[in-house]
Structures are given as structure tokens and as C-alpha cells.
């Protein structure tokens, strides 16, 4: 494990990172891949919703909101 590796949910708003790996399995993994969370993709945390969750991320030219449980399944650096 690389020291710089952390979970997407910990990414601060306005900061950018690179997707390293997915911890999700099966259908969930597919869903995340389809949304563009693929190894090597640049991702930026843009906006938290009023309740603090979900968070909107800018990825491959689109704004996508996901919940923290899912963001916890994405490793970034």
C-alpha cells in the first residue's frame, strides 16, 4: 500500500486526485466503472450537498454525485 493512497470520501472540496483502484465488487464495481471511475482518471471534489452527503465530483467532463459509502470504495492519490 502506497502511503499517499486514501479514500475518495476523504478528498477535500476543491481538491483534485487520481483514481488508483476500486474496492467495490460485482455490479457496484461495474456501475462505478461506467460512471468513469477508472484507474488513472483525474477527479475533483466539487460540492457537498446540504446534508453533507452525497458529494458531487467532476469526472471526465461531467458532474456526478455519489454517496459516501460509494466514495469509500474508491482509492485515490
Amino acid at each position: 500500500m502506497n502511503e499517499n493512497l486514501k479514500l475518495l470520501s476523504k478528498l477535500e472540496i476543491g481538491k483534485k486526485a487520481i483514481v488508483k483502484s476500486l474496492l467495490a465488487k460485482g455490479k457496484k464495481r461495474r456501475r462505478l466503472l461506467d460512471l468513469g471511475f477508472v484507474k488513472g482518471t483525474i477527479i475533483e471534489a466539487v460540492q457537498k450537498s446540504p446534508g453533507g452527503d452525497p458529494t458531487a465530483y467532476f469526472i471526465r467532463g461531467t458532474l456526478i454525485a455519489i454517496r459516501s459509502e460509494d466514495a469509500n470504495l474508491i482509492c485515490i492519490s
Partner: protein, 715 residues
């Protein structure tokens, strides 16, 4: 391995889309694309049809087909649901994929969003793996221009090996060029080129082994390379589709089984997830490469304006207050704007009523028939029109503007946390928004929720959002009983406040019921939620107003009138057929009365709700008819007189409140029930969706009535 019934299989897919060729010269064109790229707008521009459009993903959940004539040829366009991929993660993806694979379209037009081309290329590349009879349509070029995104369409065409056309469907730019390409592809057999793929070497080796065997089995029915790729990533739904549509059970084939085993043992020894990653990375990597070659961003911060708007509309401090304020403003404009035209309309229509009676009696129509036609049918219809038309003509366009701008997904974003707490799905907020227009539409809209459990919750609770048919009841009661005594300029303000409160109550009940359902009948944890938040777009004001009045307002009104006319007749008959000097209406009302009193209503009101089952619009007219027929034959023309009529029949503020509460929480209308039956395919859930809100409504009204009566007795 029988291939005999493949034709009937094809027909199954086709009949799902209602596609019929009238002659062999007709061409079937599938319109595919990511959600929210303007497919429906393009579809409308091409076919001259008026599919409803809006700026949020998942707007089109039902499939439409329409005919476009170009150069004396018929092109049958099939609007597929928007999907990000064809890997079949959801019902829509499966539907779209099955049509492209097995529906035998002559051509697939893939619509992509110029403002986020890279993501969209993912789907294009996947479709190109299945067929190269493709025309790519780069839509929303005008939006891209605004954001200073420059796309080299020729280079894109070169990279993809198929024709590429740039369009701005909203302003109908590029539509002719698109049709020309479609024409050339289908009638002149324009050549396309195979493009190189970008898969990991291991994947390529595996496909090399599989492809010849797959080819042997599927023949020319479907692209063998694509099936081979899919076999590597075992895909249950595809297996079923192959079985259903081509009658091939490919995994049972001996040779295939052997090769698959060999691949597993020698080439791709890793886990399934790893293989899937390789497959997706292959496509995504290629999309990235093409994107890099074809697109130049002249303004790196092109989305900064959207971000600023989002900061205001979805931030912790202002997100939810602004949302409620927007709701309030929409209602306020609707209420204050509808007041005057409503009165004008009802004066006019009741003036005609008198004339109509005179006319009919002059031409010798017997009194009973005259009464039946005018006081029964005409009066009910007139009431429905005068009360419904003005608010709808204002509400629908306003709501459509909001929809067009891209705000609705932000509502889902804002509220997701609360839906998650209720173990439900954030997109339920979107289906509730649709429910404002019509609960049946809201129920169909629930298809955008993937998890079956959460979709069912959304379907069962959609009725707690008052639809357009119930607004008139709410509005007229609020105006008569709660805002009537207040000075005029503030009157509509107070009315709006109460109406907004009722809506928020409805949302609150939805959340509570969702939570209860999640803990009892529909146990489960929240599934994953992902929502695309589209860029804001400036709505096309004039077009939206015209469209929403003609397509939605008049449609809903028409439906209401169709129900109102026979209902008016029925209620007239009930109140004019006497048995032992008591009308049938009184019999029924008296029968219901004791129970109705318990929940703060009376027999007539409860009966109105029951008779209003076909359409909620006619509840208020039936109440009025009921009172008019059972004694006080007061003529009324405006709300003041109506107020007196109701008070004269024993209405208090409690009656009014309970009527409103019961209107918010009672059984869904007939259309909605049928839709629920169709969507869930289960009688059990339809019955539950009927009983659930009814029981909750009865309990709420009973509790309120009892408390108020106890307090009144004590004072």
C-alpha cells in the same frame, strides 16, 4: 442448437418498441445516447412529434417511435432510453442493448453531448463493437461553443470510422445534414471503416480463440467479436437475451465451454473483476485517446459558472431554503395569477349555462333531459374547466422552465441525504416532482431507480405528492376557508404559504412512510446512488410555454373533461332518481355519513372522493353537486357563494382541513392504479398502494378530528 424460432424472438424485441415497417423500403433507425444529451429534442425535431423533454437524465423512460420522411423515404425512428453503457446494469441498458443487437435496426444514430464528449464516446465505442452501421450525432454544439469547446468533427469521424454530424437540435441546426448522412448510409450503402481497439493483449488473445467458435454458432445474426468479448465478462442478462431472441444458449455449447476453460486456465487466470476492469479500461482508454485528438478546450474553466450557481443552489446554508422558496414562488405566481381568469372563465361558462337551458327548452327538449344535460353534464365540465385551466396553464410552463434549466437533479442532490435516512433513493425526489404533474407519470418515472426495492417504495409513496387534479380542490378550499378573510394583496400570499405547507407535509409523509416500508414490508439497506448533474441551460422560454400549454395542459384538461362529463351525468342521475322520496345520492351519503363524520368529513364529501376515483379533478364538483341537489338549490358563480354553500352544509375549518388532508392522503386515482399494476406486475402491490395512503389518511383525519373535538368539549 436450434435456430428455428429466431424470427419470433426478433418480434418480441420489436413489439416492445412498437416498430412496424409499412414497406420494405422503410428503414428503422435506432436513436441511442447517454441520458440527457437531447435525444428526445432531436427525435422531436426529426419526427415532428412532441415527446416531452427536460434537462435531467432519465427523462425518457418509455420508448417512442416516430416516422421521419426524407427524400420520399420513410425512416422509422426509435427513441431508446438513455444509457451510459451497454453492459446491462439496469433495465434501460438492457432494453437499449437488446434493440441494437436483436431489433435489427438498419442504422443506429448515437447522439452525444458535445460538452462532455469523452464520457459519451464510451457508449459510441461500445455500439461500434456491435455494428458499424452507425451515424454519430454530436449534439448541443451551441452549448459547447458557449463554453469554448472546439471539436474537430472530421478527425472524430476518421477516428471512429463512421460519419459524424454536428447538430444543435434545439435550434434545429444540422438536422438536414444528419438526415442526409442517414439517407446515404441506409440507401447508398456508404462505406464505414473498422476501427482499431485498445484492449489488453491478454483480452485480444482470448477473443482470438473464442471468435471463430462463436461465429459458428451465431452466424451473421450478431457480431461474433462482440459476443466473444461479452463472454469473457460473464453477463447473465445477455445470456438470457441471446436465449430469448436468438434461441441460442451459447454457454452450453461444448466447444465454447472447452475454450472458456482454457482461457481461464491459461490466459486470464485472474478474477472476474480484473477481467472486467481490463475490458472497461480498453474502452475508456480509447475514448480518452480520441478525445485528446479531437477536442480543444479554449477555456479551461468552462464549468466555473455552473459551479458558482451550484454553490448557491446546493450549499449547506442556502440549498434547502432556496428550494422551498422556489416552490413557494411557483405556487404564488400560480395562485395569484389564476384567481382572476378563473373567475372570468366561470362567469362566462355559467352565463352560457343559462343560455343553454333557454335554448334547449325553446327547441322543445323535455325538462328532465334539459336538466340532465345542462345541470348534470355541462355544469360539471364547466366547473372542471374554469377551476383547472388557469392554474395549470400557469403551473405547467413554470415547472417546465425549472425542468429545462437543469434544476431538478439538484433537488435530488439536496434531498438525497434524507431519502437515504429513510432507506430510499435520492432519485425518488425526481419521481415526486413528476408526480406534481400526474401521479401516473410519476409512477412510470420510477423506472429511473435501479434497485427494485427502492423503486417499489417510490411507486407506493408517489401518491403523497398532490397531482394537478388535486390542486384545484386544495386551492379552492384554502382560498375559501383560510385566506378568504384576509385583505386582498396578502390573500394569495397566505394561500401559497398554506399550499407550500401541505406539499412539505406530503414530502414529510413520503419520507416517514418510506422509512416504515423499509423496516417492514420492504426490508433492506439503501443501495448505491449516483446522479449526473447536468450543466445548467438557459430554458427556451417561448417554446417551453407554448409546448407545455399545448402538450401538457390541454392534454390533462382533456382527460379531466372526458371523465367529468359522464361523472356529471352519473351524479345527476343519482341525485334525481328517487326511491321512497329519497334520492339514491342521499341514500349513499347517509350510509357513508356516520363513518365520514368520524374522520371530520361528511357523507357527501366521502362519496365525492369515491366517485372521484376515475379522476381526482371532479371531487370538488361532485361535492357541490351533491349539496345543490340535496336541498338548498342555491345558484353559485363565485367562491364567496360557494363558501356560503359549504358553510350552509355544515362545513367548519375542521371539515376543510380534513378534506385537504384526505385529498393529500387517499387512494390513487384509477389511471395511477392501473399504471402501478402495469409497472409492478403485481396485484398485491397495487392493492397495497391503494390501501396504504387511504389508511394513513383515515387515521390522520380521525386523530385530528378526535383531538379537536375533545379540546372543544373541554373548553
Amino acid at each position: 442448437m436450434g435456430l428455428t424460432s429466431q424470427d419470433s424472438g426478433m418480434n418480441v424485441v420489436k413489439s416492445n418498441f412498437n416498430v412496424k415497417k409499412n414497406s420494405n423500403d422503410d428503414k428503422i433507425i435506432a436513436v441511442a445516447g447517454n441520458p440527457n444529451v437531447g435525444k428526445s429534442t432531436l427525435f422531436n425535431a426529426l419526427t415532428g412529434m412532441n415527446q416531452h423533454t427536460g434537462n435531467w437524465p432519465g427523462k425518457t423512460v418509455t420508448n417512442a417511435s416516430g416516422v421521419c420522411r426524407y427524400k420520399d423515404k420513410n425512416f422509422i425512428l426509435v427513441d431508446l432510453p438513455g444509457t451510459y453503457s451497454l453492459m446491462a446494469n439496469s433495465v434501460e441498458e438492457e432494453v437499449a442493448r437488446d434493440f441494437i443487437c436483436f431489433g435489427n435496426p438498419d442504422l443506429v444514430t448515437v447522439v452525444v453531448d458535445a460538452t462532455c464528449l469523452e464520457r459519451n464516446l464510451n457508449l459510441v465505442l461500445q455500439i461500434l463493437e456491435i455494428t458499424n452501421r452507425v451515424v454519430v450525432c454530436v449534439n448541443l454544439l451551441d452549448e459547447a461553443e458557449k463554453k469554448k469547446i472546439v471539436i474537430d468533427l472530421d478527425e472524430l469521424s476518421l477516428q471512429l470510422g463512421v460519419p459524424v454530424v454536428g447538430t444543435s437540435a434545439r435550434s434545429k441546426k444540422g438536422i438536414d445534414e444528419l438526415m442526409q448522412e442517414i439517407y446515404e448510409m441506409t440507401f447508398m450503402n456508404k462505406k464505414t471503416y473498422k476501427i482499431k481497439s485498445n484492449y489488453d493483449e491478454k483480452i485480444e488473445r482470448a477473443v482470438e480463440l473464442l471468435e471463430p467458435e462463436v461465429k459458428r454458432i451465431v452466424g451473421d445474426k450478431i457480431n461474433a467479436r462482440w459476443v466473444s468479448l461479452r463472454l469473457l465478462d460473464i453477463d447473465g442478462p445477455l445470456k438470457n437475451s441471446l436465449l430469448n431472441c436468438l434461441n441460442i444458449d451459447i454457454l452450453e455449447d461444448k466447444e465454447i465451454k472447452l475454450i472458456m476453460q482454457k482461457i481461464k486456465n491459461e490466459i486470464l487466470i485472474e478474477k472476474d473483476d480484473y477481467i472486467r476492469d481490463l475490458l472497461v479500461e480498453g474502452i475508456v482508454g480509447r475514448a480518452e485517446e480520441i478525445y485528446g485528438k479531437c477536442v480543444v478546450l479554449k477555456d479551461k474553466f468552462y464549468s466555473s459558472k455552473d459551479r458558482k450557481i451550484d454553490k448557491i443552489l446546493t450549499s449547506k446554508a442556502t440549498g434547502i431554503p432556496i428550494m422551498i422558496a422556489l416552490l413557494f414562488v411557483i405556487f404564488w405566481i400560480t395562485l395569484s395569477g389564476a384567481n382572476y381568469p378563473s373567475e372570468l372563465l366561470s362567469n362566462g361558462l355559467f352565463f352560457i349555462q343559462d343560455k343553454l337551458t333557454i335554448l334547449l327548452s325553446n327547441i322543445g327538449v323535455p325538462i328532465w333531459l334539459n336538466d340532465m344535460l345542462v345541470k348534470g353534464i355541462y355544469r360539471t365540465v364547466a366547473w372542471v374547466v374554469s377551476v383547472m385551466l388557469p392554474p395549470m396553464a400557469i403551473f405547467f410552463p413554470l415547472f417546465t422552465l425549472l425542468e429545462d434549466s437543469g434544476y431538478l437533479p439538484r433537488i435530488a442532490f439536496n434531498l438525497d441525504k434524507y431519502f437515504k435516512k429513510a432507506c430510499a433513493h435520492g432519485k425518488q425526489a425526481l419521481t415526486m416532482c413528476m408526480g406534481f404533474g400526474c401521479n401516473a407519470c410519476g409512477v412510470i418515472g420510477c423506472r429511473i431507480i435501479d434497485s427494485p426495492r427502492e423503486r417499489l417504495i417510490a411507486i407506493l409513496t408517489n401518491n403523497f405528492v398532490p397531482c394537478n387534479g388535486r390542486f384545484p380542490t386544495l386551492i379552492s378550499i384554502i382560498t375559501m376557508f383560510f385566506a378568504g378573510t384576509i385583505m386582498l394583496p396578502y390573500q394569495s400570499f397566505v394561500s401559497t404559504l398554506i399550499l407550500t405547507g401541505i406539499i412539505i407535509l406530503g414530502v414529510f409523509v413520503t419520507l416517514v412512510v418510506s422509512k416504515i416500508l423499509s423496516k417492514t414490508l420492504l426490508k433492506g439497506v439503501p443501495s448505491s446512488f449516483s446522479l449526473e448533474m447536468p450543466p445548467y441551460r438557459r430554458p427556451q422560454f417561448l417554446k417551453v410555454i407554448v409546448r407545455s400549454i399545448f402538450d401538457r395542459t390541454l392534454f390533462v384538461l382533456g382527460r379531466a373533461v372526458i371523465v367529468a362529463a359522464p361523472a356529471g351525468l352519473l351524479i345527476w342521475l343519482l341525485s334525481n332518481i328517487f326511491i321512497n322520496d329519497v334520492s339514491i345520492l342521499s341514500y349513499c351519503a347517509n350510509f357513508l355519513d356516520p363513518f365520514a363524520r368520524l374522520i371530520g368529513l361528511d357523507g357527501i364529501i366521502l362519496m365525492a372522493f369515491i366517485l372521484g376515483f376515475p379522476a381526482n379533478e371532479i371531487v370538488m364538483p361532485i361535492i357541490i353537486m351533491g349539496y345543490l341537489c340535496t336541498g338548498n338549490l342555491t345558484e353559485f358563480s363565485n367562491l364567496d357563494e360557494l363558501h356560503q354553500l359549504l358553510v350552509g352544509n355544515g362545513w367548519t375549518w375542521l371539515t376543510a382541513t380534513c378534506t385537504m388532508l384526505f385529498s393529500l392522503m387517499h387512494f390513487p386515482c384509477g389511471t395511477t392504479c392501473l399504471t402501478i399494476k402495469k409497472e409492478t406486475g403485481s396485484t398485491k402491490w397495487t392493492v397495497i398502494s391503494f390501501l396504504l395512503p387511504t389508511v394513513i389518511g383515515i387515521l390522520t383525519c380521525f386523530a385530528l378530528t378526535t383531538v379537536v373535538r375533545v379540546v372543544e368539549a373541554l373548553i
